[in-house]
Structures are given as structure tokens and as C-alpha cells.
């Protein structure tokens, strides 16, 4: 099993969720995060004074999938989250040692 973690633009969340659902993914975990990358921060102006906001709000998605589904999931997120502009985010994939469904105690591929 693999954990796919993606950091995307917040307004793209619904598109990514719909695309993953359509691809047959049964569940995802979402959190609001802040960070900086090549996009850097932005400036805001209050009463004429400029403030540099270093951290940009992003949404992080986590999906656990069977190893053979990783490529199609990554593909789905890339195509549904991309705008082509700077700050679209990143996806990384890591190994998952063990997975348990709490309600039934099912493990491994059965718990995905």
C-alpha cells in the first residue's frame, strides 16, 4: 500500500475530490496547511502600510491506495489540480507499513 500526499491550491479541492471519486477512490483526508515554495508569499496593504505574508494557504490531501493504483491516482490529482500557474503544489508517495480499518479490524488491502 502507498500513501499519496498532495499539497494543492485550496480552490482546486472540489475538482480533485470529484476526480478521485470518479476514479473509484473510497476516501481521502483533507487538512488546511500553510507554507511557501517557489511561489513565495504575497503582500497585503493596510492603511498604506505593506505587509509581507510569507506563508500561503494550501490544502493537503492524503489518500491511501493499493500499490498498483498509485500511478492512476497521482495522474488524476495532477490533471485535476493543475492550473499551469506557479503555486499548483506537489505530490509525494510513501510506503505504508500497515493499514487497519477500525470498525472491522480488517487489515491491508481489505482496509483500503
Amino acid at each position: 500500500m502507498k500513501l499519496v500526499t498532495a499539497v494543492i491550491k485550496p480552490f482546486k479541492l472540489d475538482d480533485v475530490k470529484d476526480a478521485l471519486k470518479a476514479a473509484g477512490i473510497a476516501g481521502i483526508t483533507v487538512s488546511e496547511v500553510r507554507g511557501f515554495g517557489r511561489q513565495g508569499g504575497h503582500t497585503e496593504t493596510y492603511r498604506g502600510a505593506e505587509y509581507k505574508i510569507d506563508f500561503v494557504p494550501k490544502v493537503s490531501i492524503r489518500v491511501v491506495v493499493a500499490a498498483d493504483a498509485v500511478d492512476s491516482v497521482v495522474e488524476t490529482i495532477v490533471s485535476s489540480a493543475a492550473t499551469g500557474k506557479i503555486g499548483d503544489g506537489k505530490i509525494w508517495v510513501t510506503d505504508v507499513e500497515r493499514l487497519v480499518r477500525i470498525r472491522t479490524s480488517e487489515e491491508g488491502a481489505d482496509a483500503v
Binding site: E44, T45, Y46, R47, G48, A49, E50, Y51, K52, I53
Partner: protein, 400 residues
């Protein structure tokens, strides 16, 4: 007694009362989220503390007796105010003036945001309302007061309230020092929707503040309503125009700030001007106060929420412009420079602005020093870091 006049003044007292929670939200939106309750509390607390002090002694010191500098104790504990009965009951005047006394020291809280200890704030504004506000209200609003007697005009408190609170704010800022992190740590407003809400409440309440000062339900009051509203509108447009040109965007905080500067500047003029004057005064205030934002950075004063630029500068602009725009055909018997009255009124307005500013600064500066030397003005560095909400009130505004 006139029931129409009385009804309007009583209604106006309620409108002015509502301005203090409005001010609380106006300011609270601009501070960081760890200080929002501290800011709301300082403003709302003024409604408690100052009302009591005003009833016991403040009103009497402002409006009792015949002294030109300060009143006497004839009306202490609000006894004998029926002596003031005229077209409205003396008690209606008490109610209306009480709300002015409440909001004036609350204006200072914007300058000292995020670092003024709550207990010291209570001592500061309690004493301030007796030794600064009551005498100044006497000078300006009472017929025996020396500025009133000299001929200076202040319809609803450009000098007595805005210059007074603005200079007091400056004095306390100098004594208390800057916020930790000021100048190198960003401290953007945490909730501008609060600030917009507060602006709406202030604008609404200001109708009573200015038009209630006619102390009658008459043509002067109607003129004051229109002047007040138009000055706020022009102030907003003036501020936004300059802001858009200088920074590229018309901001919500700019709209809110500009409207308030127009309201501040029209305050002394509200019942004395007409025609295009409120639009000109409001626009000059919006542009002038925006330009004044840079003063604090140049002087390294951490006037956190711009009480100097908005209230002091706005109050000075309105007080002095009245010397040009006063129109005896609207009200009173004094014409300004542009209406054939010569420079006499303008001179009186200069004296009023200068006298109130100097007195307020000097006394507040001494008072702030005395408090700093005894019980301290500032919260500890640790308390400042965790914020006023937790350190002063053991509460959080936003719990998850």
C-alpha cells in the same frame, strides 16, 4: 418643555451609546486575534466605569456652576439637574452628555492596543475623565467655559472629543512605548469584517452624536444629519481615491477609515455649515488623514490603530475648517472666512484646537508617567506575547 425636542435628544443618547460597542468592533477587527477580547473589553468597560464616574462627579464638574475653567459640585450624584430644565429636561442633557463622556476615553484604546494593562487602563481613563475630559467639556460645551465664551465653535466635539482623545492617545503612546516586534513583525488586522461592522454602527450612531447636539428636533438637527452623512460619504471617497492611486487598491479598511475621518471632521461643524461644505470638509479629511498616516512611522510612535491620523488630525481639520465654512444663515451668528465673517472665527478655532491639544497632552502625559511609576502601564513581555485575552482576562476569543 418640548416633547419633540426631548424625544430626539433621548433617542440621540441611545444612538451615541451604541457608538462605543461600534468603536469596540471597529478597533477589535484591526488587532491580532490574541488581543481581540482585550480590545473589546477596554471599550465596553468604559461604558461601565465612566458612566458611574460621570454620574457621581464628572457631569457636575463639566456643567455645574459658573466657572470658566471647571464647574463645581452642585450636580454631584446628579442632584438638582432639574435646574437645567428648558426645552428639554436637564436629565435628558445628562443622558446625552454621559454617552460622550463614555466614548471619548475609549477612543484612546486604539493607540495603546495589545500592551496596556487592563487595571492600569481602568485607573488611567477613570482619572482622565475627571481631570481632562470634564474641564475640556466645560471649556467647549458650557456657555460659561472660556473657549465657548471667547466665541470658538464646536458643535459636537471636534476639539472636546477628537483632538482631546487624539492628544491623550499620543501622550500615552510616548510613555508606554511601542509593541514588542513593532516595525519588524507583521501585525495585520485579524478580522476586517468586525471593522466594517463597527464602522456601520459608528456611522449610524454618529447621526445622534452630531444631530442630537442641536438639543432640539429642528432644522439645525436636520442639517446636521445631512452634513454628517455627506461628510462620511465624501471622506470615504477621498480616502479611497488617494489609496487607490498610491497603493493600487481600494481597500475595505480604507473605506471604513475614510468614512470615520469624514465623521470626525464634520463633528465640530455639523450644525454650523451647509451647502457643499460637508462634502468639501469630508473629502479634505479623507485625503488629509490618509496623508497623516506616515507621521507615526517618521516619529517612531506605535500609534497602533492610527488614533492620531484619524481622530487628532481629523479633529484639527474639522475644527479649523469651521473657521472657513461657518455660515450664520444655517445657525448661530458667526460667519467663517468664506462667508464674510473675516478671520476672527478662524483665530478662535486655532486657539480652541491649540488649548485643548496642549492641555490634554500635558495632563495625560503626567498622568501616564505617574501610573507607569507606581503600578505600571504595560503588561509583562510574557503576557504581551501570549496576548491580552489570556493574560488580562483568562479567556480566548476563538477556541477550536
Amino acid at each position: 418643555m418640548d416633547s419633540g425636542d426631548t424625544a430626539w435628544v433621548l433617542m440621540s443618547a441611545a444612538l451615541v451609546l451604541f457608538m462605543t460597542p461600534g468603536l469596540a468592533f471597529f478597533y477589535a477587527g484591526m488587532v491580532r486575534s490574541k488581543n481581540v477580547l482585550g480590545m473589546l473589553m477596554q471599550n465596553v468597560f468604559a461604558m461601565g466605569l465612566i458612566s458611574v464616574i460621570w454620574a457621581i462627579i464628572g457631569f457636575s464638574l463639566a456643567f455645574g456652576g459658573t466657572g470658566s475653567i471647571v464647574g463645581n459640585l452642585d450636580f454631584a450624584w446628579l442632584s438638582g439637574v432639574t435646574d437645567l430644565d428648558g426645552n428639554i429636561p436637564g436629565m435628558a442633557f445628562v443622558a446625552f452628555q454621559m454617552m460622550f463622556a463614555v466614548i471619548t476615553p475609549a477612543l484612546i484604546t486604539g493607540a495603546t492596543a495589545d500592551r496596556l494593562k487592563f487595571s492600569s487602563y481602568a485607573i488611567l481613563i477613570g482619572i482622565w475623565s475627571i481631570v481632562v475630559y470634564a474641564p475640556v467639556a466645560r471649556w467647549v460645551f458650557n456657555e460659561n467655559g472660556w473657549l465657548f465664551d471667547m466665541g470658538a465653535l464646536d458643535f459636537a466635539g471636534g476639539a472636546a472629543i477628537h483632538i482631546n482623545a487624539g492628544m491623550a492617545a499620543l501622550a500615552v503612546v510616548i510613555v508606554i512605548g511601542n509593541r514588542r516586534g513593532h516595525g519588524h513583525e507583521p501585525m495585520p488586522p485579524h478580522n476586517l469584517p468586525f471593522t466594517m461592522l463597527g464602522t456601520g454602527i459608528l456611522w449610524f450612531g454618529w447621526i445622534g452624536f452630531n444631530a442630537g447636539s442641536a438639543l432640539a428636533a429642528d432644522g439645525v438637527a436636520a442639517q446636521a444629519v445631512v452634513n454628517t452623512h455627506l461628510a462620511a460619504a465624501a471622506g470615504m471617497l477621498g480616502w479611497l481615491a488617494v489609496e487607490r492611486i498610491k497603493t493600487g487598491h481600494a481597500t475595505t479598511l480604507g473605506a471604513a477609515s475614510g468614512a470615520v475621518t469624514g465623521l470626525v471632521a464634520i463633528t465640530p461643524c455639523a450644525g454650523f455649515v451647509g451647502g457643499a461644505a460637508p462634502l468639501i470638509i469630508g473629502a479634505i479629511a479623507g485625503i488629509g488623514c490618509f496623508a497623516a498616516l506616515g507621521i507615526k512611522a517618521k516619529m517612531n510612535w506605535d500609534d497602533s490603530l492610527d488614533v492620531i491620523a484619524v481622530h487628532l488630525v481629523g479633529g484639527v481639520i474639522g475644527t479649523l475648517l469651521l473657521g472657513f465654512f461657518a455660515d450664520a444663515s444655517i445657525n448661530g451668528d458667526t460667519d467663517g472666512l468664506l462667508f464674510g465673517g473675516g478671520a476672527e472665527l478662524l483665530k478662535d478655532q486655532f486657539v480652541a484646537a491649540g488649548a485643548v491639544a496642549a492641555f490634554s497632552f500635558a495632563v495625560t502625559f503626567a498622568l501616564a508617567h505617574a501610573i507607569r511609576a507606581t503600578v505600571g502601564l504595560r503588561v509583562s513581555p510574557e503576557d504581551e506575547r501570549i496576548g491580552l485575552d489570556q493574560s488580562q482576562h483568562a479567556e480566548s476569543a476563538y477556541s477550536s
